[in-house]
C-alpha cells in the first residue's frame, strides 16, 4: 500500500515538464522509498481536470494523501522545498539508502 498519493499537473511535453517529472521521480525514490503513487496529468489534454483541481501554474505537484493537502509549484528543482511540501523530513545523510545510486 502506498502512503503517498501525488498528482503532478503539467502542460505538454515541454523541457520544463520533463525536468519536473525527473526531479520528482528522483525525490520519491530517494525519500519516499517507493511508498507512493504518482499520477501525471497533462492539462492540455484534459483541461477540465485542471479546472476541478483549480490549477493555475504548471508544473504543479499536489499531495493528496496523507493530509493535509499541499501544493508545490515549479519544476521541483529545489529539493528542500519539495520535501517541505510533502511533509517529509529527509533522512540523515549517513542512513540514506539511495545515496550511492
Amino acid at each position: 500500500m502506498s502512503d503517498y498519493l501525488l498528482k503532478l499537473y503539467v502542460t505538454g511535453k515541454s523541457p520544463r515538464t520533463e525536468k519536473a517529472i525527473a526531479n520528482l521521480r528522483r525525490i520519491c525514490e530517494e525519500d519516499l522509498h517507493g511508498r507512493y503513487e504518482l499520477q501525471i496529468i497533462d492539462v492540455l489534454e484534459d483541461p477540465q481536470l485542471a479546472e476541478d483541481a483549480k490549477i493555475l501554474a504548471t508544473p504543479t505537484l499536489i499531495k493528496r494523501l496523507p493530509p493535509p493537502l499541499r501544493r508545490v509549484i515549479g519544476d521541483l528543482s529545489d529539493k528542500e522545498k519539495v520535501l517541505l511540501g510533502l511533509d517529509v523530513w529527509p533522512d540523515p545523510p549517513a542512513a540514506a539508502p539511495g545515496e550511492t545510486e
Binding site: N23, E51, L56, A57, P68, R71
Partner: protein, 520 residues
C-alpha cells in the same frame, strides 16, 4: 469586402449593452480586443466586469468570468442583488466561471520555475465550452499577490491577453489603482494591455462619494473624452450619465399644453411647449408650489398623467394646499392620473436620483413631470454634480416628449440672484420669475415670463393674487421699476410717459394707455 488580401479592417465596436455606456464609448468596447478597467477599491470594477457579461448574455452572447480575487460563491451571491442569476446561466451553459481565486486552506510552496499555462488552458477550455464571445477577468492585482515572481505573472497575463485575441473574444480585465488620480494601475499591468484603458473613479468630495468613468484611450477608434458620472443601483447595475451625448438628440415640438392657468398660458404666448422644461424661480411663499399644483391640475383636466417629485413638502401637505386653492390632487391620484414621490433629497446621491426619476417615468409614463424644488436637491452634491443632474434630467424629459416644470428658490425675499437659477437658467427653455413687490406698505406678488424659447411672450411684470380659487393674474406693475433687481422704486405716471416718449416718439403718448386696454 472585395479585397482578398490582409488589408486590416477598422476597429469594430462591440455594443456592451450597459445603459448609456455605449454612448460615451461611441458604440461599445473595441471588438476582439482586451480593455483594461482600472479603479481604486470600491470603484465598481467587478460590477462592470460582471455586467459586461450579463448584458452580453441578454443579447445572446455567452461569457466567461475569470475570478482572481473573490470566490465564485461570493460573486454569485453579490451579483444577485443586481438581478443577475449566475448559477442559472451556468446551468444553461451560457456562462462559465473560472476560479483562480486564492485558496487560503491550501499552502502553496514554490520550487523552481513555472508558468501559468494551466490557467490559460482553463480559460481557453471555458471559452470553447460555452462558445463565449465575452470574457471578463477580475482582477489582475490579486494574481500578483499569489506568486512571488511578478515578472512571471506579468509575462503570463500578457500571453493570456494574446490568446484571448486569437480566440476572437472581446475581453475586459480589471486592475487596482492606489489612488483616483495617479498611476494607471498597480504592478505595471498597463504595460501589457495598453491598447484600451478606461478608469473608474470613486472620489470623495464635500463628504460625498462621486463615481465617474473615463475612457482614457481606445487605440484605433474613437470615444467620448473626459469623466462621466455614473451610479451603481440595484436591478440596473452600472448606469452612466452621458452629458454630452444626450443633448444632441432632443426633438422639439410646436404642440402647446396648458399651464393650468389660462392667464399664464396667455403670457406664454398660448401655453408651454410640450417637450420643454420650464423653471419657476422665486422666493419662499411667492407661489411656486401653487404654480406646480396648477400645472398638475391642468394636466389632470386634460386627462394627462402627471408625476410630482416633491422634495420639500409631504404628500398630505400638498393635497391640503391644493384643496385650499380649489384643486383636487387627491382625486387625480385616485383616478390614476397623478403619482407623487415625496422624499428627502439626502436619501440618495444626485446620480441615484436621476436614475430613480428615470425609473419612475418609465414606469408611470407621465405626460407632465413637476419637480419641487431643485434648490432642495442642490444640497445633495457639488455644483458640478448638480449641474450635471439638471442637464441629465431635463434632456431626458425632453427626449421623452414630456413637459417638465422645475422650481427654484431664490435666497433673498425680494428677488435678486438665485444660485440655482444662475447655474441652470441656460438649460431650461422657459423661465418664469415670481417676485415680491413692496408697494405703499403692502406686499404684492409679481410674475413675469423672462424667457420663452421659440415663442413670443408677454414681457410685462404682472401682479397676481392667490385665493381659494388659485392664482389670478392682474394688471402689470406700470409704476414700479427695479422689481427684478430686488429693489422696487415707484415712479409717477408722468415720468413713465416721459420715458416712453423718449424711447418711441411716434407712439409714446398712447403707449401707457394702450397696453392695459389689451389685457382686459
Amino acid at each position: 469586402m472585395s479585397d482578398p488580401g490582409d488589408r486590416p479592417y477598422a476597429v469594430q465596436k462591440l455594443a456592451t449593452g450597459i445603459e448609456s455606456f455605449d454612448l460615451i464609448a461611441e458604440g461599445g468596447l473595441p471588438q476582439n480586443r482586451t480593455t483594461l478597467v482600472a479603479g481604486t477599491a470600491g470603484s465598481g470594477k467587478t460590477v462592470f466586469a460582471v455586467q459586461f457579461l450579463a448584458a452580453g448574455i441578454a443579447a445572446g452572447e455567452s461569457g466567461v468570468f475569470v475570478t482572481f480575487e473573490e470566490s465564485p460563491r461570493d460573486i454569485r451571491q453579490n451579483m444577485r442583488s443586481f438581478g443577475w442569476d449566475l448559477v442559472q446561466w451556468e446551468q444553461d451553459g451560457i456562462l462559465a466561471l473560472v476560479d483562480a481565486s486564492p485558496d487560503p486552506e491550501i499552502e502553496t510552496i514554490e520550487s523552481g520555475s513555472f508558468d501559468l499555462s494551466a490557467l490559460l488552458a482553463r480559460v481557453e477550455n471555458a471559452v470553447r465550452k460555452v462558445g463565449a464571445k465575452r470574457v471578463a477577468i477580475d482582477s489582475l492585482g490579486a494574481m500578483f499577490s499569489q506568486f512571488s515572481d511578478q515578472s512571471i505573472v506579468r509575462r503570463e497575463l500578457f500571453r493570456i491577453a494574446i490568446a484571448l485575441k486569437e480566440l476572437g473574444v472581446t475581453a475586459v480585465m480589471t486592475a487596482e489603482r492606489t489612488e483616483d488620480y495617479g498611476a494607471i494601475a498597480r504592478f505595471g499591468v498597463e504595460e501589457f494591455i495598453a491598447d484600451n484603458v478606461m478608469i473608474l473613479r470613486n472620489v470623495l468630495g464635500e463628504e460625498r462619494r462621486r463615481r465617474t468613468v473615463e475612457i482614457l484611450k481606445f487605440r484605433g477608434t474613437g470615444h467620448q473624452k473626459g469623466e462621466f458620472p455614473f451610479t451603481i443601483v440595484a436591478d440596473h447595475g452600472f448606469v452612466v450619465i452621458p452629458l454630452s451625448s444626450i443633448q444632441l438628440r432632443q426633438k422639439s415640438s410646436e404642440v402647446r399644453i396648458s399651464s393650468g392657468n389660462p392667464e399664464l398660458d396667455g403670457m406664454c404666448g398660448g401655453g408651454f411647449f410640450r417637450d420643454s422644461v420650464i423653471l419657476v424661480s422665486g422666493a419662499t411663499g411667492t407661489g411656486k408650489t401653487l404654480t406646480v399644483t396648477q400645472f398638475l391640475a391642468g394636466g389632470g383636466a386634460a386627462g394627462e398623467r402627471c408625476l410630482l417629485l416633491s422634495f420639500e413638502e409631504s404628500r398630505d401637505q400638498l393635497f391640503r394646499n391644493a384643496r385650499g386653492w380649489g384643486m383636487d390632487l387627491e382625486g387625480m391620484e385616485k383616478d390614476g392620473l397623478l403619482r407623487v414621490v415625496c422624499d428627502y433629497p439626502e436619501v440618495a446621491s444626485l446620480e441615484d436620483w436621476l436614475v430613480r426619476i428615470k425609473a419612475q417615468v418609465h414606469d408611470f409614463r407621465p405626460s407632465r413631470v413637476a419637480l419641487d424644488s431643485l434648490s432642495a436637491l442642490e444640497r445633495g452634491g457639488s455644483l458640478k454634480a448638480f449641474r450635471e443632474f439638471v442637464i441629465g434630467v431635463s434632456s431626458f424629459i425632453k427626449h421623452q416628449e414630456i413637459t417638465g416644470l422645475f422650481t427654484a428658490t431664490t435666497a433673498g425675499l425680494m428677488g435678486g440672484p438665485s444660485i440655482t437659477g444662475n447655474h441652470i437658467s441656460t438649460l431650461t427653455d422657459s423661465i418664469i420669475l415670481l417676485r415680491y413687490v413692496e408697494a405703499f406698505g403692502e406686499m404684492k406678488r409679481g410674475m413675469t415670463v423672462l424667457k420663452m424659447r421659440g415663442s413670443d411672450h408677454d414681457k410685462e411684470i404682472r401682479e397676481f393674487t392667490i385665493d381659494q380659487d388659485g392664482m389670478h393674474l392682474g394688471r402689470p406693475f406700470r409704476n414700479v421699476t427695479g422689481i427684478l433687481a430686488g429693489a422696487p422704486v415707484h415712479v409717477s405716471p408722468g415720468d413713465i410717459e416721459r420715458i416712453w416718449s423718449h424711447l418711441d416718439p411716434e407712439a409714446g403718448a398712447e403707449e401707457p394707455q394702450a397696453t392695459p386696454a389689451q389685457s382686459d
